[in-house]
């Protein structure tokens, strides 16, 4: 094993150890069930915001955003904006009322607000679907990181993350998770900030520019391993040594690629000389100038994609189970709102830094454009910029630590919230051990992650957001603000939104997706499914107007009246 691989492994192990240590410290503090599940609602706004940010900034954010920007350019800037804007929607519509509802999960909220067991069960199903869908890329991201850094097989990284997460969750519950995740947020921010500082310094002293009517260039002789079939687009003639299959024909030796498209089969190896132009994956901006300017693709599809991402991020964040649970650890509705504002600042600053990393990675890790494995950008930028040496290796170790913190925090947050739902809804009365629920919550996505080939974060994460936005967002927003919502309307809306987005997820993950706007809609369904869910919910509620809960006014008052009036359900004990 090489030195940089060892350094990266040590860094990841250190993160795991630190998390476990902080988690066990939290265990000592945790004394009650309330401590375990909701941290006794005594977490301050800043530490709670750190924990929320740490939980939210997943591998998809730490690795995926930079990779997207590396590949897509200006158009990828909308992804982090959508992810941050989701918290604005939380502040505006959900944070304080949800906290005041006393609901711990969306199923809780559904029951509190509409008193429907059926709706609660449906919501439970969707919580599990969303949670598992979201855990999948996290676990696979861990595999990617380990493979990229150490050449260990991907399954080892997936299994390792699964075990560490389980240990953390089982050890301390929410309280320790709070401290662990707050720590992990700052670790991630530190890693990215150091990375940006170093690389930006290099870039500024370099006087290189992106504004070139040409593809990026390999800064040095590079060998690219193609791990998945890829179609490359060559815009400038390039000489390449191929060992594998190109366009279904075995090729061995140096060839000259003229501008055009070449399909390279997985397992091939491409060798480029220093200074040669970089072929890019088809469908992405080929030249730096295209990359630098927005709307690089076909305008209508591009707009559709951007709006869909904005809708999914803006409205989907509030439906993520691990995000909702976090709000319950606030002291009151006011604190929940303030916490969310702090989160806006925290993740905003993180995404600014990550955007810079992605931008600079275009210069230092162009080989990822060839392999299509752009999600590894953050991990490889250090050695790409500083070269093979201790400086680069150490910086790479820091980046690896940040990545480890990313999957650990999001995964453990998801596991805690899923285990909470399993424990209270699915296994009610059958199991008395929260830890068993945690294990059960982890196993399905772990198995799936080991069995399925990895997909881009850019593909999977927006799909998860789309499902959340199509199901829970209408339920939460209408439930909090519209007294006319009925249980039947909510059920219909959730089923319609969830069904449509579920079909899109299934087709885009496992089926063939037609080209054009229809394919784009399947990849980014939220622009259709969210309005459909809202509309269904409103229409069906209107039709079943007579079933509006009798105590709707009291319920709404509970959600909106400040705690100081003493109406909060906290004082009456949780409904569940």
């Amino acid at each position: 094993m090489t030195t940089p691989a060892l350094i990266a492994l040590v860094a990841i192990a250190l993160v795991g150890l630190a998390s476990a240590a902080i988690g066990s410290y939290g265990v000592r503090v945790a004394r009650s069930t309330s401590d375990f599940l909701v941290a006794s609602r005594t977490v301050g706004p800043v530490s709670n915001a750190s924990a929320i940010s740490g939980e939210y900034l997943s591998a998809a954010s730490f690795l995926g955003i930079a990779g997207l920007i590396l590949r897509e350019g200006a158009d990828a800037l909308w992804y982090p904006i959508a992810f941050v804007a989701g918290y604005l929607a939380l502040v505006l519509f959900v944070a304080a009322p949800l906290r005041r509802s006393g609901a711990y999960t969306v199923p809780d909220f559904a029951e509190v607000r509409l008193d429907s067991t059926v709706l609660r069960r449906i919501c439970t199903v969707f919580v599990l679907v969303i949670g598992w869908l979201y855990l999948l890329p996290q676990l696979q991201g861990a595999g990617l990181a380990l493979t990229t850094l150490t050449t260990l097989p991907a399954w080892s990284g997936i299994a390792a993350v699964g075990v560490i997460v389980l240990l953390t969750v089982i050890g301390g519950g929410m309280r320790s998770i709070t401290f662990v995740q707050a720590f992990q947020y700052w670790l991630k921010l530190t890693a990215v900030a150091v990375l940006v500082t170093v690389v930006l310094g290099l870039f500024l002293s370099d006087a290189r520019s992106f504004d070139r009517e040409a593809p990026p260039q390999f800064p040095e002789a590079t060998v690219v391993q193609i791990r998945t079939d890829v179609v490359l687009e060559v815009s400038e003639q390039v000489r390449v040594v191929v060992d594998g299959e190109v366009d279904d024909r075995p090729v061995h030796g140096e060839v000259a690629w003229r501008p055009g498209r070449y399909e390279v089969t997985s397992g091939s190896t491409l060798s480029f000389a220093a200074g040669s132009p970089v072929p890019t994956v088809a469908g992405t901006p080929a030249t730096d100038r295209e990359w630098l300017e927005p709307m690089s693709g076909e305008a209508s599809n591009q707009l559709l994609e951007i709006y869909s991402i904005l809708v999914a991020g803006f409205l989907g964040t509030m439906g993520l189970p691990h995000v909702l649970v976090r709000f319950y650890t606030n002291a009151d509705g006011r604190a929940a709102r303030r916490t969310t504002v702090v989160v806006l600042a925290m993740i905003g600053s993180f995404y600014m830094l990550v955007t810079l990393v992605g931008m600079l990675s275009r210069l230092y890790t162009p080989q990822l454009l060839v392999s299509g494995n752009t999600d590894a950008a953050v991990l490889l930028v250090p050695t790409g910029a500083l070269g093979q040496g201790w400086a680069g290796w150490l910086l790479g170790g820091l980046a690896a630590a940040g990545a480890a913190a990313a999957f650990l925090s999001t995964s453990s947050g998801l596991v805690v919230s899923l285990a909470g739902v399993l424990f209270t809804d699915v296994f009610k009365g059958r199991f008395h051990d929260f830890r068993l629920a945690a294990v059960i919550a982890t196993l399905p996505p772990l198995a799936l992650a080991l069995a399925v080939t990895r997909l881009d974060f850019a593909l999977t994460v927006p799909l998860v957001f789309a499902v959340a936005a199509s199901t829970f967002c209408p339920l939460l927003v209408l439930g909090i603000w519209w007294r006319g919502l009925t249980a039947k309307g909510a059920i219909a809306g959730v089923l319609v939104g969830g069904g449509l987005s579920g079909v899109a997820v299934g087709l885009s993950l496992f089926g063939a997706v037609p080209p054009g706007w229809l394919g784009m809609l399947l990849y980014r369904p939220s622009v259709v499914t969210v309005p459909a869910a809202f509309l269904t919910m409103v229409v069906v509620s209107r039709l079943t107007r007579s079933e509006i809960p009798a105590d709707v006014d009291k319920a709404l008052l509970l959600l909106h009246a400040p705690e100081r009036l003493g109406l909060s359900s906290d004082r009456r004990g949780r409904p569940t």
């Binding site: 200006a74 604005l88 707009l303 709006y307 009291k554």
Partner: protein
């Protein structure tokens, strides 16, 4: 729900306020401890806390001499009670407790509530019967002694009931009022009734009596908080002297009630007798009769003090804690005695008698707190009744020791009943006093024990005071509760406020969402329609990168911050509207 409880504090504050003046008096005459408790009027919460703390102090401190013996037990028991009863429940609980019918149950409840207290109480209660716990004895001592003496004299029904009621009421009332204040109040009340006695003691019983009576009434309301201290002013003068004496016997009448007791005990020798007489005079009318009775009682009182000191004390403690339990044992005891046997029935009857007494008491309460719910009053009244039984028991017990007294007791009790009945009806003690003429004997007996004679009056006063306290609480709380309830119940105003809140919040949220959505949503369109924008460089950065990579985050953060402030302001004004 909670709000109502929360609201209670204000009422408490009012009580304090009322107590304020008394507090001053108390301060002058009494000890610093009480002052401290009283002084802290700043916030009701503080007051409450201090009260509770002060209760312990006052009880112990106010009656320092008494403390020695009584303090620990009495204070302990009282504190829990107060804490428990202090808020809203305090008033009602006394009521149920007072409810002669189910005293036991109430006692059990109290014990549960008090928690630690129960032990002390139970201990005392047991001892009283058996002449148990010294601690219990200490508190009870003064009262018990007085009671016992009184009982012997024949106060069985009236005095006993009165005393018991007084004694138990104090604790109960005290809790109800607020820990410390209640304690004080009880003394005041007790003193008020009894005070009359003390006051009379120094001066001339008869003339003085009326004055004290009058004072007691006002004092109860005002003094509740400072009541304990206040006892010193009115009763204390009398009581203070008695206390020493009382202290020596069973000494530290643990609580205010004990103070009266102490007075009574103190009165044992001479002052006690005077006091007793005085109260009797004050309470009843000016009938001199009490004096004779008192004179007789005096010796017995002393005897009782000495002999029954522990037992009576225990009884008293038991009364406050678990009057019911005490009564039970007490009943048997009275029965054994010949006179008691009669008295026993009398006791049985006595509760009713006591009940009437409460009724009279209630009117005064109404006076002070007209608005107070009748039910509350009723509740309060019942407690006295229960107390009455307990007292009776005590007295019975006391009588037991002095069997000679017993015979008189029945007769006395009978008159007492009659006397009391009139009292309640008329409120006017004078009228009652006619009955009281007979009563004097009873009173005399009560006087013998120091507190007892005054107790009948005290009971009334106490009841009144109790009522007042409760009323005060409700008054303070009422407004907030109503508005909050309005909102919850969806009455016109409430619905308007609620809908206004939700609409305002939704409007703000939508406004911000539309603002953010338009800003972010138009940018892609703009970039698509006017590609040149994507080529503009600002500060060395392409405009899209500058906007989307950097500036958008502060923009979103600013929106969030702005919105959260607006929303908080809306909530604030809503809450202000509702709570005003």
């Amino acid at each position: 729900m909670t709000t109502s409880t929360d609201g209670a504090p204000p009422s408490v504050a009012s009580e304090h306020d009322s107590s304020g003046p008394p507090a001053e008096r108390l301060r002058r005459a009494q000890r610093e401890d009480a002052d401290d408790a009283l002084d802290t009027n700043s916030s009701w919460l503080r007051e409450e806390i201090q009260r509770r703390i002060a209760e312990g102090r006052t009880r112990s401190g106010g009656r320092h001499a008494r403390r020695d013996t009584v303090t620990s037990p009495g204070s302990v028991g009282y504190v829990p009670r107060h804490s428990v009863a202090t808020p809203g429940p305090g008033a009602p609980r006394p009521g149920p407790v007072g409810g002669s019918p189910s005293p036991h149950a109430s006692g059990l409840l109290r014990r549960e509530r008090t928690g630690a207290a129960p032990e002390a109480w139970s201990g005392p209660s047991g001892p009283p019967e058996e002449n148990g716990g010294a601690d219990a004895v200490a508190q009870p001592v003064a009262q018990p002694t007085a009671q016992p003496t009184a009982q012997p004299t024949a106060q069985p029904t009236l005095k006993p009931t009165a005393q018991p009621t007084v004694a138990s009421p104090f604790p109960r009332r005290i809790p109800g009022t607020n820990g410390a204040p209640p304690v004080v109040a009880p003394p005041d009340r007790a003193e008020a009734t009894a005070p009359a006695a003390p006051a009379p003691v120094p001066v001339v019983p008869v003339p003085v009596v009326p004055v004290p009576v009058v004072q007691p009434r006002p004092s109860p309301t005002a003094q509740p908080a400072g009541a304990q201290p206040s006892p010193s002013p009115r009763p204390r003068p009398a009581a203070a002297p008695p206390h020493p004496a009382a202290h020596t016997p069973t000494a530290p009448s643990p609580i205010v009630p004990s103070a009266p007791a102490a007075q009574r005990t103190a009165g044992d020798p001479s002052a006690a007798a005077l006091a007793d007489q005085a109260p009797a005079a004050a309470v009843v009318a000016q009938p001199v009769a009490p004096e004779p009775a008192v004179a007789e009682p005096d010796p017995p009182a002393e005897d009782a003090d000495a002999a029954a000191g522990a037992g009576t004390l225990g009884r008293r403690t038991s009364d406050p804690v678990a009057p019911e339990t005490v009564p039970v044992p007490a009943w048997p005891r009275p029965r054994p005695v010949p006179g008691r046997a009669t008295s026993g029935p009398a006791w049985l009857g006595s509760p009713p008698a006591s009940t009437p007494a409460p009724a009279p008491a209630s009117p005064p309460a109404r006076d002070e707190a007209d608005e107070a719910d009748e039910a509350d009053e009723a509740e309060e009244h019942p407690p006295p009744a229960t107390v009455g039984p307990a007292v009776a028991i005590q007295s019975n017990q006391a009588t037991q020791p002095s069997s000679a007294v017993v015979p008189a007791l029945p007769t006395l009790s009978d008159p007492v009943f009659t006397a009391r009945t009139p009292e309640p009806g008329s409120h006017e003690r004078e009228q009652v006093r006619p009955g009281g003429v007979q009563v004097p004997e009873q009173r005399g007996s009560g006087y013998l024990r120091g507190g007892p004679p005054s107790r009948p009056d005290e009971q009334d006063d106490l009841e009144n005071k109790r009522v007042r306290v409760v009323l005060a609480e409700r008054k303070g709380v009422a407004r907030p509760v109503r508005t909050v309830v309005d909102i919850q119940e969806g009455t016109g105003v409430g619905e308007f406020l609620r809908n206004d809140l939700i609409k305002t919040q939704l409007g703000i949220a939508l406004w911000f969402a539309v603002g953010a959505g338009l800003t972010l949503g138009l940018l892609p369109l703009l970039f698509a329609m006017v590609p040149e924008i994507g080529r503009i460089e600002v500060l060395g950065l392409r405009l899209p990168w500058l906007l989307l990579g950097l500036l958008v985050y502060p923009f979103l953060f600013g929106l969030g911050l702005w919105h959260s402030r607006l929303a908080e302001r809306v909530e604030q004004s809503f809450a202000d509207h509702v709570q005003d």
